[in-house]
Symmetry: C2
Subunit: 244 residues, 2 copies
DNA sequence: GTCGCGCATTAACCTACGTTGACTTGAGAG
DNA sequence: CTCTCAAGTCAACGTAGGTTAATGCGCGAC
């Protein structure tokens, strides 16, 4: 039987990426958390079209959020990392409009759906944070739309790699100039609206140019500054965000 | 001096598209609303990079939400219609990451930023609605990402036209098989990641095929079912949403 | 009226990316 | 150790959509 992480000991909330929690918030959080769920690689945390009974914070592991279109094409909407909130809008709107699939083993904090309303009633600060999280998410999606709409293949791939890199660095998951990269090239291309073949062409070229490379399920960043330039991302500090 | 609409008389909240408000909510809303702002065509309701001091609900008129990229390209993130909430995440995150530009004269209900926190403290139901709105918005953005990532030009244009059509029909703005369409083809192409030239090719073809046409600042829908099919949008009822 | 201007429309040409299909590599199963 | 299967890589060729640039057209200014 695995031991459940007490929120007090949660390794995530101390990360500089996240807004610190007050003692009172922490106390509420411990009661709000109903338990933990463990998912295997390939398992669906959320399934498109299914009602979902809970929202989750990813404690560890990674996943992809994707929509399957009627004609069988898949769009990856976003990559999911530790600290991300999953299922907010299925929780609010009733039915999941997308799937979330684990690409590594994933541990989730579970917050039952029917407690969300209590959170809004008794914990306005936490409710505010939830809206804040939704706003951050929306901001990223806007950036994604801009990337898909206006960038060419090279810029898109560079953008995705830099975004993933920065997020994992902020989570202190960088070791020896590399971060875990459990996504397949197929996931990347489904996220960027490119064919796998062309995504691969770009990745090979970026590697040849000494900018970054993917090898052994890890992303090795050789030249963050130059790759950011290719991606047209400035070097601005990532904003902190709340965590549930 | 223009007369300010009392929330009690607000023509929007009665529309079937929106979740009805309780008397108590309505009472709060009247105090929450600080006033109205009128914008001219071309004016910016929100400017990318500027701090914004308020959030707004669009009472009437239309706008586009867009990002200007460093190299001068513009991505239209979404089209804004009456009932939409504008500036939620600039309000929460401090600085606007995108611009919102009026494409018709626009009337806005103004909610000062510093009252948002009071809303969360005293009106959990309204706070919940705000999160709900953010979730609906996020859902649409996800659909946009999927459209830009996986659809070809014809499907994209059809998708945009159907989305706009349905929203304006839900707002009861349809007359004689047509709705107002104040957007330029340039706006459409910036939203869909296409060149104006190609967008025009598609529009001309859709018109020739008797599906829909844009003429005289109006969108005439000749065959909603068939166009929806082209857009790969099913005929599902649009969900209701709250309004602030 | 007619001038000026932003927007829609069209045609000719070109390229970035998709498609198909074959080959390689590597990791886990037995 | 080697078999298998999924993922990565690569080349050849085709096409959707970009680019450029010219023309048409309504509409407000005066």
């Amino acid at each position: 039987m695995p031991v459940i992480t007490d929120c007090v000991d949660c390794p995530l909330r101390r990360q500089p990426l996240f807004v610190p929690m007050s003692d009172e918030e922490l106390a509420f959080q411990r009661r709000f958390k109903a338990g933990e769920t463990h998912m295997q690689v390939g398992q669906e945390i959320l399934s498109q079209g299914q009602a979902s009974s809970a929202i989750y914070t990813v404690l560890s592991g990674m996943a992809v959020r994707s929509i399957m279109l009627e004609d069988g094409q898949r769009q990856v909407i976003s990559f999911i990392f530790p600290g991300d909130l999953v299922g907010l809008h299925s929780g609010i709107m009733g039915e999941a409009r997308h799937s979330v699939t684990a690409v590594t083993p994933v541990v989730l904090c579970t917050f039952p759906r029917n407690r969300i309303w209590r959170l809004f009633k008794t914990q306005p600060a936490r409710a505010y944070d939830m809206t804040w999280i939704a706003a951050v998410e929306e901001h990223f999606l806007g950036e994604t739309v801009a990337t898909l709409g206006q960038r060419d293949a090279t810029q898109r791939v560079a953008w995705a790699l830099v975004r993933i890199w920065r997020r994992l660095v902020a989570l202190r998951m960088e070791t020896g100039g590399a971060v875990p990269f459990p996504f397949r090239q197929q996931d990347l291309s489904d996220a960027l609206g490119l064919s796998v073949v062309h995504t691969n062409r770009v990745i090979v070229r970026l590697r040849g140019d000494g900018l970054a490379e993917i090898s052994g399920r890890r992303l090795v960043m050789h030249d963050h500054a130059r790759l950011s330039q290719v991606a047209r991302l400035d070097m601005e500090k990532d904003d902190v965000r709340p965590i549930l």
